[in-house]
């Protein structure tokens, strides 16, 4: 609760700061505030186990994910000063909106009541609609934001329909009641299946599961890179944990499991295959995030008791790698005056070997090469899926992981190729620090995964 309040207040405060002071203080304040929030979460200070009459529950999963999101958000904000340095538009709002969205994330991490699920998703999404359109003068940006908005509300409708049907069955929005109701259910219940399915569909949209993934590439490409980073990391974490909390209670009824498996197969296939042909880095990352959600859904499908930690580890390490890469991408993009194709990374190794090696490590982590966190994460999913007996689905996942390695390696190859025309990569110290931190974290977590489990 306190963390929620702190972050919300922080957001409002940032708004006011935007009015009264210059934008250089924004990032420090935000980060400090987040540090405070994280500390509160860590200390678990004054968090009764049922807030608002048991609509939120900050159990271990919730706390861990909240902290994870807060930390990643800090990294993203640390990228802020440099990113917004030469932007004219109102920076304070951007920070504030991201903070609000983060609040939604916390709600998703801790909801135990379908009402809170709905609120969480909306509080998470509505700021993002705005953020996606951050570049006021850019048609692409507004297109992205409008697409996001339309598709998002469309999905919300499904979610609500699901919630309503479940309410109709139980007469309550509380997950506990639903759980007991389902436990009592012997015969398959049509209305129940409908309800569960629609909620799943609504959440699948946020996760970006095929066939509800259409928004991802376009929005990632259109949105400002910082916002894309935020979406790719914090939002994904929030969506996953939200879905996890849902499935945690409902379990995986036979009917839903089959659908989920289908969802996983489609997501893995489309995400990886479409990434093959991508030349635009942001779209590539979008598809890669689709494929990663495929693996996450696979973990959810297994739905063992360790799935929570697996999801946290996976999303957190994925977020670290993504943040680092997006920052590197921005650096390269500036060096090549605004181009976004993969070629912009050419010559990075020659110009700045350290950064290039960092990029290599992060890419390999996304690809899941051993000794990186990404590998350990994937391996956990392997274990979960195999343990739950989804061998064939897992085998398909393995094949798709191979495809994934291909396109990450293709990007990595660019790093070591000589540049066509001389380019100068300018790395702001703070960015360099963040990238290095991400790399170290990714490698360290790969070597000693026990830290996070």
């Amino acid at each position: 609760m306190s963390a929620l309040i702190v972050i919300s207040v922080l957001a409002v405060a940032v708004l006011y700061l935007g009015i009264f002071s210059n934008k250089n203080v924004l990032a420090p304040v935000t980060i400090l505030g987040l540090v405070a929030a994280t500390a509160l979460l860590a200390s678990g200070w004054y968090i009764p186990h049922d807030l608002l009459h048991g609509m939120l529950d900050f159990d271990r999963t919730a706390t861990a994910f909240s902290m994870g999101m807060a930390v990643v958000a800090m990294l993203v904000f640390a990228f802020g000063p440099d990113y917004y340095a030469r932007k004219q538009w109102h920076v304070a709002e951007q920070y504030a909106l991201m903070l609000f969205s983060l609040v939604g994330g916390l709600l998703l991490a801790s909801w135990t009541n379908l009402l809170m699920l709905f609120l969480g998703i909306e509080v998470l999404s509505i700021p993002l609609y705005v953020l996606a359109g951050g570049k006021k003068r850019s048609l692409r940006s507004s297109e992205a934001s409008l697409k996001y908005f339309l598709l998002g509300s469309f999905a919300t409708a499904f979610l609500l329909m699901g919630i309503t049907l479940l309410y109709g069955l139980t007469g309550s929005f509380d997950m506990g009641v639903l759980g007991t109701f389902m436990a009592a259910q012997a015969a398959p219940n049509m209305m129940l299946n409908f309800g569960l399915f629609f909620v799943l569909a609504g959440m699948a949209f946020k996760v970006g599961a095929v066939p509800l993934h259409f928004w991802k590439p376009d929005v990632y490409q259109g949105a400002p890179t910082l916002v894309t980073t935020f979406m790719a990391t914090v939002v994904l974490m929030a969506a996953i944990v939200g879905l996890h909390r849902f499935i945690d209670v409902t379990g995986m009824p036979q009917s839903l499991a089959a659908t989920m498996a289908l969802l996983v197969l489609a997501t893995l296939l489309v995400g990886n295959l479409l990434a093959l042909r991508q030349t635009n880095f942001k779209r590539l990352m979008a598809y890669s995030s689709v494929s990663h959600s495929g693996f996450l859904l696979l973990a959810l499908l297994a739905n063992a008791d360790t799935v929570g930690s697996t999801l946290l580890y996976y999303t957190f390490t994925y977020a670290l790698a993504t943040v680092g890469l997006f920052i590197l991408f921005t650096i390269a993009k500036r060096a090549n005056n605004g181009a976004e194709h993969l070629g912009i990374f050419k010559g990075l190794f020659a110009a700045n070997p350290v950064m290039a090696l960092c990029a290599l490590a992060l890419l390999l982590s996304l690809a899941g090469i051993p000794l990186t966190a990404g590998f350990v994460a994937k391996y956990q999913v392997f274990l979960l899926a195999i343990g739950a007996g989804w061998l064939k689905v897992m085998a398909f996942g393995v094949l798709m992981a191979l495809v994934g390695i291909y396109y990450y390696v293709m990007v990595a190859r660019e790093l070591f190729l000589p540049a066509e025309q001389p380019v100068t990569f300018t790395v702001a110290p703070l960015n360099g620090l963040v990238i290095t931190l991400c790399t170290i974290a990714v490698l360290a977590l790969g070597l000693w995964p026990a830290w996070l489990i």
Binding site: F149, L150, F154, A157, T164, G171, G222
Partner: protein, 109 residues
């Protein structure tokens, strides 16, 4: 208050379901088919409202106020969404004059 609920209960629940699904489908169809973005947004609202209708009915039949509370939240959120949506629409109108949904095709593949 009670008479409202009894009034609602006069009509059997199935009818509410039927009507709600009908509205939902109409909204969906509109969202898919119409090209004017404003109308698309209205259709989306219609979908949400179909849910509201069903919620109210269910809460009445369950005799549980929670459903109606939910309805208020939904209306609230819907309002927020529309606000944001229209704002974005205005911005889009500035950048590319027109509110035709088919104009949104710069970002693809």
């Amino acid at each position: 208050m009670d008479n409202v609920i009894t009034a609602i209960r006069v009509v059997p629940l199935e009818h509410y379901f039927f009507l709600s699904f009908l509205l939902f489908s109409i909204g969906m169809a509109g969202a898919l088919l119409r090209r004017n973005i404003i109308i698309v947004i209205m259709c989306l609202e219609l979908m949400l409202n179909s849910v509201n209708l069903l919620l109210v009915a269910l809460s009445a039949f369950h005799g549980d106020p929670g459903g109606q509370v939910m309805v208020f939240f939904i209306m609230l959120v819907a309002a927020a969404e529309v606000t944001v949506g229209l704002a974005i629409l205005v911005q889009l109108k500035r950048n590319a004059d027109g509110v035709d949904i088919n104009q949104l095709n710069r970002l693809k593949w």
